[in-house]
Amino acid sequence: MKRKSRFLMIVGILGFVFLYAPILSLVIFSFNESRLVTVWGGFSTKWYGELFRDPQILDAAWVSLRIALASATLSVVIGTVASFVLIRFRRFRSKTLLSMMITAPLVMPEVIIGLSLLLMFVAMENVIGWPGGRGLLTIIIAHSTFGAAYSAVIIQSRLVDMDLSIEEAALDLGARPVRVFFDVTLPVIAPALMSGWLLAFTLSLDDLVVASFVSGPGASTLPMVIFSKVRLGVSPDVNALATIIIGLVSLGIIVAALQINRSKRMSRR
């Protein structure tokens, strides 16, 4: 028995090393003086300076940020309404269809999502003249669609766990269903909305494939710029960028975790 648990410990430690070593190396070599990313040439922060002087990267970061903010918000709205309808409404005709459509994007290869949406946008433009070219708007729509699927997973599980008696009490006291939703349900599931928003936000910031399909000239997202740089080989300013992103994400997650912990303690009181 002891031997087996030692085996498990070793696999576990190696597993976590495997997960974190590449990320750690990105951070370490972002402070490398040398242009050769994997050979240490002394400490330097010059790649960060270079990064902030690169207009292409800055523009792309701004484009990506706007897309991520808009699509994360839309994702949560669609995801919340879909989850509420699926969990709380009694049977309706299109229920199976909706539940299939909201989970399917999770298992669909990105190349297929990207291609199908692009062809749809082109077809729509031919028939109704909208969306009139491709760019920010089409990327936001695409990201909202798969973002909604991911946030719906989180929101649905929260809605299932939620104590129904609070909603019933509000209904018994004469509140209308919609008012119950805004005054009771939404505040209770707020942490799930927050996690769903964060997930949709990072997925949007991260997406290369779908955005490449549905983007038009002039709308290059950050992953698109990184990809074209990285295809030519390693470059230290990408390491610097990676370090900044890793730092921001870790900060966001720590803040979110503290927030969730606090609200848990509050609700226990």
Binding site: N126, D206, V234, A242
Partner: protein
């Protein structure tokens, strides 16, 4: 706190709409997903039957009015082409092979990790789970990029091995199938661990104790009790790795070599380099058919308690 009164005013307004309001609420996500998810697949299916042309958009319509009759010209040429050209068949087989091997490696690494987390003290479980999920939140593209630095000729692994003296010449690892396996396993490992953990954490330890009391050795108990009971978690985890891996584009594009043939890359090139939308569409439709069985397996595994994604 300020938003509540506003929220209730909107709520009261909507509430007066009654049944119509209910329909409206159902309609919002349904219409969105119909227009931006389901119908696009029908458009892809339609274009896969059309002919490529130098036009805007670059394909011929499959429906037209001939002498006042509505006619549909289905062109099966694209699908015939996929069958005839060995490139496409090889790319489908290559994708399935790479995805399957990566899935097995991910299972061999992920199962012990999930088991370890599920068997550790309850207060440490959340921290360990968090550590599994955390890399998933940092950029996927940059995590794949990190492996270039690890695997290339003068990269971290080669430098380390040569300094220690295990090898004299750098190993060729980047731009090989090996690098693609590493990339896929690395990227999708959390997807393997999470459903396995969700399953293993529910495993009643009484079964394991009963098995030990009856004289079974730990290894026997594992293969006759633990493994069969966690089958739905195994299938869910494997499918969550296998399905996206089949259609993967970024990993083979950055880590794979010229002989790495994956269907996601073929689709990408047909679309972006050859601008052949009908062929790209038929490649996508065939890929969907390849994925039907894995997707159904996943649904089955999740329905029978394989844990959520």
């Amino acid at each position: 706190m300020n938003s509540l009164p506003l929220g209730s005013r909107i709520g009261a307004l909507l509430g007066r709409m009654g049944l119509k309001g209910r329909l409206l609420v159902i309609a919002i996500p349904t219409v969105w997903l119909l227009v931006f998810f389901l119908i696009p697949f029908l458009v892809v299916a339609k274009i896969s039957f059309s002919e490529a042309a130098i036009a805007r958009p670059p394909y011929l319509p499959i429906t037209e009015w001939v002498d006042g009759f509505f006619t549909i010209n289905l062109n099966f040429g694209n699908y015939m082409f996929l069958l005839e050209d060995p490139l496409y068949v090889a790319a489908y087989l290559g994708s399935v092979k790479i995805a399957a091997i990566s899935t097995i490696i991910a299972l061999l690494i992920g199962y012990p990790m999930a088991y370890l987390i599920a068997r550790s003290a309850p207060e440490r479980r959340n921290l360990l789970l968090m550590m599994v999920i955390l890399p998933f939140w940092t950029s996927f593209l940059l995590r794949v990029y990190a492996w270039i630095g690890f695997l290339k000729g003068n990269g971290i692994i080669n430098n380390l091995l040569m300094n220690v003296g295990i090898i004299d010449e750098p190993l060729v690892m980047l731009q090989t199938d090996f690098a693609v396996y590493v990339g896929v396993v690395y990227t999708y490992l959390p997807f393997m661990i999470l459903p396995l953990y969700a399953n293993l954490v529910k495993l009643d330890e009484a079964y394991l104790e009963a098995s030990a009391d009856l004289g079974a050795r730990p290894v026997t108990t594992f293969f006759t009790v633990t493994l069969p009971l966690s089958m739905s978690g195994i299938i869910a985890g494997c499918m969550l790795v296998f399905i996206p891996a089949v259609g993967e584009f970024v990993i083979p594009a950055l880590l794979g070599g010229p002989d790495t043939l994956m269907i996601g890359q073929v689709l990408w090139n047909e679309f972006f380099s050859n601008r052949d939308w009908p062929i790209a569409s038929s490649v996508a439709i065939v890929m969907l058919f390849v994925l039907v069985i894995p997707i159904m397996l996943l649904r089955w595994a999740q329905a029978s308690g394989g844990g959520e994604s």
